[in-house]
């Protein structure tokens, strides 16, 4: 009996818990397919009586949805490019070039991770205002070109696992540091770079405060700010709000399914945080 319980219990827990986690998703999608009347019905229906695909069209037409999405994607792509150009270079410097100062740099990189963004926020806003960059995407993208501390840390963790002999062999053949970086290290780093690209995309995609602060002109809004404003103006139209939220979640879900192993990798890299 006890042995049977031991075999069944994990599955029972897993199934119960995963249903709890899944149900909000189901509810999101089902609500997005109901009529306003059905949403307020009691007792509630789980599945829509008649599937209202038109809610999606209505949601997309209620706000400049495509424009917001394009604005968002542009910011995401620039952030990915910036991070991929800078973060691996810095990680390479602090993990594979034996120079005095690399320990200090690494310590500061880690220390800045605990620095609340609010401390720099206001002066940054003033700098960007003085440069005339407010209401453009520059404040939302330029930071990426200097490498985010989290990515530098992540890439360093990966690089520590790459044997130094690889570089040394190339050095004996007369390869320069830049050549070793570009020809040997970057190709090895590909899975880690994919992780950086994914996280970079996710962060820019879900960012709310940045666009809220920096983008005044509604034509330049990202989807997060656009959706929030839609909620403000049409608060009670739950079916449309849920439809818009579903569309907004889709890129994240797709990215997660295609990039699952990369997300897991960052988890294992973080466990090296000692």
């Amino acid at each position: 009996m006890a042995a049977r319980l031991k075999a069944v219990l994990p599955y029972a827990l897993l199934i119960l818990l995963s249903n709890v986690f899944l149900f909000p998703f189901l509810w999101l999608v089902m609500t997005s397919l109901k009529t306003p009347e059905e949403i307020l019905k009691f007792p509630p229906t789980i599945f829509p009586e008649k599937v209202q695909w038109s809610n999606y069209q209505a949601a997309v037409e209620a706000i400049p949805f495509t424009k917001y999405m394009m604005n968002t994607f542009l910011i995401c792509i620039l952030n990915i490019i910036g991070q991929l150009l800078s973060a691996p270079l810095v990680a390479y410097s602090i993990s594979r070039i034996p120079w005095k100062g690399r320990k200090i740099i690494f310590t500061i990189v880690v220390a800045t991770m605990i620095l609340p963004a609010q401390v720099q926020m206001i002066p940054q806003y003033i700098i960007f205002t003085n440069l005339g960059w407010v209401n453009t995407i520059v404040p939302l993208t330029i930071g990426a070109f200097f490498g985010a501390p989290f990515f530098i840390f992540l890439l360093r963790q990966f690089l520590l696992g790459v044997p130094m002999e690889l570089s040394e062999a190339a050095k004996i053949d007369g390869a320069s540091e830049l050549r070793i970086y570009a020809r040997i290290i970057l190709p090895i780093l590909k899975p880690a770079l994919a992780t950086v690209a994914l996280f970079s995309f996710v962060w820019s995609y879900v960012d709310f405060m940045g666009p809220l602060i920096y983008l005044n002109d509604s034509a330049k809004w990202t989807i997060t700010v656009g959706l929030q404003s839609f909620q403000q103006d049409h608060g009670a139209q739950w079916e449309k709000l849920m439809a818009a939220s579903t569309i907004m979640a889709v890129p994240m879900i797709l990215i997660y399914f295609f990039g699952q192993k990369y997300f897991m990798k960052s988890g294992s890299a973080l466990t090296g945080f000692k």
């Binding site: 994990p10 827990l13 897993l14 995963s18 986690f21 909000p24 998703f25 509810w27 609500t31 307020l40 509630p44 270079l89 410097s93 602090i94 034996p98 120079w99 005095k100 100062g101 800045t112 605990i114 620095l115 609340p116 609010q118 401390v119 720099q120 926020m121 206001i122 002066p123 806003y125 700098i127 930071g143 200097f146 490498g147 501390p149 530098i152 540091e177 996710v202 995609y205 879900v206 405060m209 602060i213 959706l227 929030q228 404003s229 608060g235 939220s245 907004m248 979640a249 994240m252 879900i253 990215i255 997660y256 399914f257 699952q260 997300f263 988890g267 294992s268 973080l270 466990t271 945080f273």
Partner: protein, 316 residues
């Protein structure tokens, strides 16, 4: 001028060898993107905000030096204390709850069950959903009349609070939402769990240690570094809660309804945002930012300092 000096001219002995010097410049060059960004977007704004915190500045006229006046005002500002109290609640109640939940999920996910990857996917998925979208979903789920949560509670004969409208329940609403997103922390714990050497468990089993005992004596100590890491990150995150509150409280662009019912969702970062970008009190908000920085710094140092007693590093 020295370019044409004879080859054997005595030069002061270099502190660094040529190789060291070459590596120094190489390393510096490779690290330069981060260094430039650090100076321009961290160091300069860091001290800039310290200076601004001692001024009165509305973004349009020049900053006016007021000394410590902003800090004195803060100490008499009810909104400061409200936001600090709300934030402490999230840091010291919500963060530990979420941490324990993600640890438990990780333990469950570490079962050798068939299709375990499928379950891992499900638990992680909510944490990739944009906060704006998940906050909207939860606003609907927690709707007092038609929300799924209250319908379920009513069906079970339990009390059905007005969640986001009742100041006593707004923060529990946020906790509920963060529990749904606890899969991200669970995955980090899971990776750490899988790194615990199997021999420890086998040895303990030979000694007749039960599952509970093994969890307390092996699993928890082995996970303690990652618990410390997640605790610090969670605390820092709690001090920056913004989007959740903004959406759940139905924030207006003019800042009218920020903070929720009876300011129960007025968190530190929300208050700071409002002072800076709605009321345009940049000096005052900078002072708030510096107090935030000092609190976070003290908490982190305190945690790191006391962690020696409960954090175990493998092989040390």
């Amino acid at each position: 001028m020295n370019a044409s000096a004879p080859v054997h001219s005595p030069r002061p002995k270099a502190r660094w060898s040529r190789k060291e010097r070459r590596y120094f410049w190489l390393g510096l060059a490779f690290a330069s993107p981060w260094i430039v960004g650090f100076l321009a977007f961290t160091v300069y704004p860091f001290f800039g905000s310290l200076y601004l915190s001692l001024t009165e500045y509305d973004l349009f006229s020049t900053p006016r030096w007021v000394g410590l006046q902003n800090y004195e005002h803060i100490l008499q500002d009810d909104r400061f204390y409200t936001s600090l109290g709300n934030t402490f609640f999230m840091a010291f109640v919500s963060v530990p709850i979420t941490l324990v939940a993600s640890l438990l999920i990780a333990v469950v996910l570490n079962f050798k069950a068939r299709g375990i990857n499928y379950y891992r996917t499900i638990f992680y998925l909510p944490s990739v959903i944009p906060i704006v979208a998940s906050a909207l979903l939860w606003t609907w789920m927690l709707n007092p009349d038609f929300g799924l949560v209250n319908m379920a509670l009513r069906a079970l004969g339990l009390p059905d609070p007005a969640w986001l409208l009742d100041p006593r329940y707004t923060k529990p609403s946020l906790i509920l939402m963060s529990l749904w997103g606890s899969g991200a922390g669970a995955l980090i714990f899971l990776a750490a769990l899988q790194g615990v050497p199997k021999q420890y468990y086998e040895a303990a089993q030979v000694d007749g240690a039960g599952a509970w005992h093994r969890f307390w004596k092996i699993t928890l100590p082995a996970l303690s570094p990652i618990i410390l890491f997640q605790l610090i990150m969670g605390l820092i995150g709690a001090f920056q809660i913004f989007t959740e509150s903004y959406i759940l409280a139905g924030g207006k662009a003019d800042g009218g309804s920020l903070g929720g019912p009876e300011q129960s969702l007025l968190f530190y970062a929300v208050n700071l945002y409002q002072e800076a970008f709605v009321f345009l009190k940049m000096g005052y908000a900078s002072a708030l930012a510096w107090i935030l920085f000092i609190i976070v710094l003290l908490m982190t140092l305190l945690l790191l300092k006391t962690s020696g007693r409960w954090v175990y590093y493998g092989g040390e």
